[in-house]
């Protein structure tokens, strides 16, 4: 009796629910952004998705600060239709229409900007955001920064997609030349063991597969922490045991403007670390944790801090001044 009633309700439900999915059937049938005569280009992005991009990209939306920087570095800011609330470099990026935070942007706000191309990155965006945009028929190219060279290749690919292959090649050649020059100067130097501090309390550092770990290598350094996790939490004991030669902080940390880690020494725990006792604290620009052209500036700056004898002693004594420059820029 009970089960028969359940069955009857189920049948009624089936009939009702068949009316619901009408709107759903439309999914996947959205038209591509208005075709501009030429056939769209089909490329594979850095996470293996197939992306169909209009031949002429006029409106770009970026979903992360580093991507906004890349668009500006390529001189394509007139085509930047929108960016995120966090995009502050260069300052002009703050005046662009915003689509929300990189982690949870408003899909509607993105749709409203009619982008020909949306740029995303695995380093801060969610896969769900990219999937949802793709379902709406919007072209999304996802970059996946893992190494410094990878970032440079990625810049070239994005420049090409945005129809600025020439400017991209010039920018990439300049960045690569600077890296090569650095490599020539540092190749016979001993590697400096460093602890890269992402966050002081709790202590969070970088794993071996991040682009920051690779950037350290270009600056003649090596992270003492070997972890497969991207941003592992580590204990002070581990740091004391591994005895890094230098502590590396980025300039956006609290107290970073005070030179030589005086503020770090005042923090409990940190004073036990040998590098802090010796004043071996290097502060680099916050570009260090952004996979953008500015990263090369930060690498050069860190190399000067860690290898003062190669670059002339005067830069070492001016380290805090150099840091100020990085901040201003």
């Amino acid at each position: 009796m009970l089960w028969r009633r359940i069955f009857a309700v189920g049948i009624a439900g089936a009939l009702l629910s068949s009316a619901v999915p009408q709107a759903r059937a439309a999914r996947g049938a959205f038209p591509q952004a208005a075709a501009s005569g030429e056939a769209p280009r089909v490329v594979t992005d850095e996470v293996g998705r197939t992306v169909s991009v209009p031949a002429e990209v006029r409106r770009i939306v970026t979903l992360a600060p580093n991507l906004t920087e890349i668009v500006y570095a390529l001189g394509l800011d007139d085509r930047l239709a929108g960016d995120t609330n966090y995009c502050d470099t260069p300052p002009a990026a703050k005046d662009k229409p915003h689509v929300g935070s990189p982690v949870s942007p408003s899909l509607e706000a993105i749709v409203a900007l009619h982008p020909d191309l949306v740029l995303a990155t695995t380093s801060i965006n969610r896969r769900q955001t990219v999937d949802a945009l793709a379902r709406l028929g919007i072209a999304v190219y996802t970059s996946d920064p893992r190494t410094v060279r990878g970032i440079i290749v990625s810049i070239a690919r994005m420049a090409d997609l945005m129809g600025a292959a020439g400017r991209g090649a010039a920018l990439v050649a300049q960045l690569q030349a600077r890296l090569d020059a650095l490599h020539t100067r540092l190749k016979d130097r001993p590697t400096v063991d460093v602890l890269f501090v992402v966050w002081e309390d709790p202590l969070v550092t970088i794993g071996q597969n991040t682009f920051i770990a690779d950037a350290l290598r270009w600056a003649g350094a090596r992270s003492v922490i070997e972890s497969k996790q991207n941003y592992p939490r580590v204990s002070f004991e581990e740091v004391v045991r591994l005895e890094p030669d230098y502590i590396v902080l980025t300039a956006d940390h609290e107290g970073a403007e005070e030179s030589e880690g005086a503020s770090l020494r005042a923090r409990p725990g940190w004073s036990q670390i040998r590098a802090v006792e010796q004043g071996h604290v290097a502060v680099v620009g916050s570009e260090m944790d952004r996979p953008s052209p500015g990263l090369i500036d930060a690498i050069e700056q860190l190399a000067r801090e860690l290898h003062p004898d190669v670059f002339g002693a005067k830069t070492a004594s001016m380290s805090s001044a150099a840091m100020e420059c990085a901040c201003v820029r």
Binding site: L2, R5, I6, V9, G10, A12, G13, A14, L16, S17, S18, V20, P21, Q22, A23, R24, A26, R27, F30, P31, N85, H98, V99, G100, S101, V103, S104, P105, S106, L107, E108, A109, V111, A112, H114, T122, S123, I124, N125, R126, R127, Q128, T129, D131, A132, R135, L136, Q229, N230, Y231
Partner: protein
Amino acid sequence: MRPLTPKRVFWICSALLGVLFVMVVISLRMGAYPISVRDIVMTLFNGALGRRDRIPSDFWLVVFGLRLPRIALGILVGAALATSGAGFQALLRNPLADPYVLGVASGAALGAMLSLMFAPQVPGAIQAAAFVGAAATTGVVYFLGRRGGQLDSATLLLAGIISASFLSAAIMFLGTTLSGRDQRGMAFWIMGDLSSPPSLNLHWLFLVLIVAVGSIYTTSSDLNLILTGEQEARHLGVNVSRVKLVVYIAASLLTGLAVSVAGAIGYVGLIVPHVIRMIFGTDYRLLIPASAIGGAIAIVFADTLARTVVAPTELPVGAMTALAGAPVFIYLMRRNVR
């Protein structure tokens, strides 16, 4: 209170459906993309007649591509959570029972997460795994919540809280094995999020919803008797263990369904049935359908706020429900103690 007649159930449910309809219209109107009510009506009208060529493509994208699917998902999740909450409250004879408080939602989340890790491509696997997780957790909490062969209110809640924190720890541990961007997605999903519709077709999920809500509804007269005492119900000819089994399976299914598409959205299953009880009385023949509609109203409302309060950034809808739900929970608990 007036006696409950089928007519009264019908009118109350119709009134609630009217409120839901108004809520849907408001939700359709609000959002980062500005559309007037007139344009929405025009888009819906032409869309319903299949005249897509008369709709500007932006309106089509925003109304049919983004807002309607999201509202439909909200209705699905809200109805599922509120009905399963009402079901658990009857099953465990505890007014504070709720899929979230009891840890059942965390169990479903763990199941869903395991299926995402090991069988990400199998359609329906998330839903099935979430159901298994929810059902297993309900069983464990039910077992742990007994003291001297009797279900004890405080012990049951403690068992639920302990299970929830244990399961959350397990989820966090599994989360460390994911890549950075999947971790972010997972963190958002665990807080309860409607911004990314599932890849599965919604009408299958609505079918499951209607079957499960319907099965609980068919037991509502028996539930009324059971609430006066299991012994008495048995004497009146109610097959208590079978009724409990039906409610147990259906409520777990509903929790698994909601969690698998939208993560763990807390407190809706607790608050909505209580508000319905306060307004319309405790009769389950009204409580079950009214809770389903009320839950849909609550989630559509909460998600509209989540989309708009810090626009263009979006909040997880679970943050909105917890913000409103936690104080109400404390109020109900204190009132209950007195």
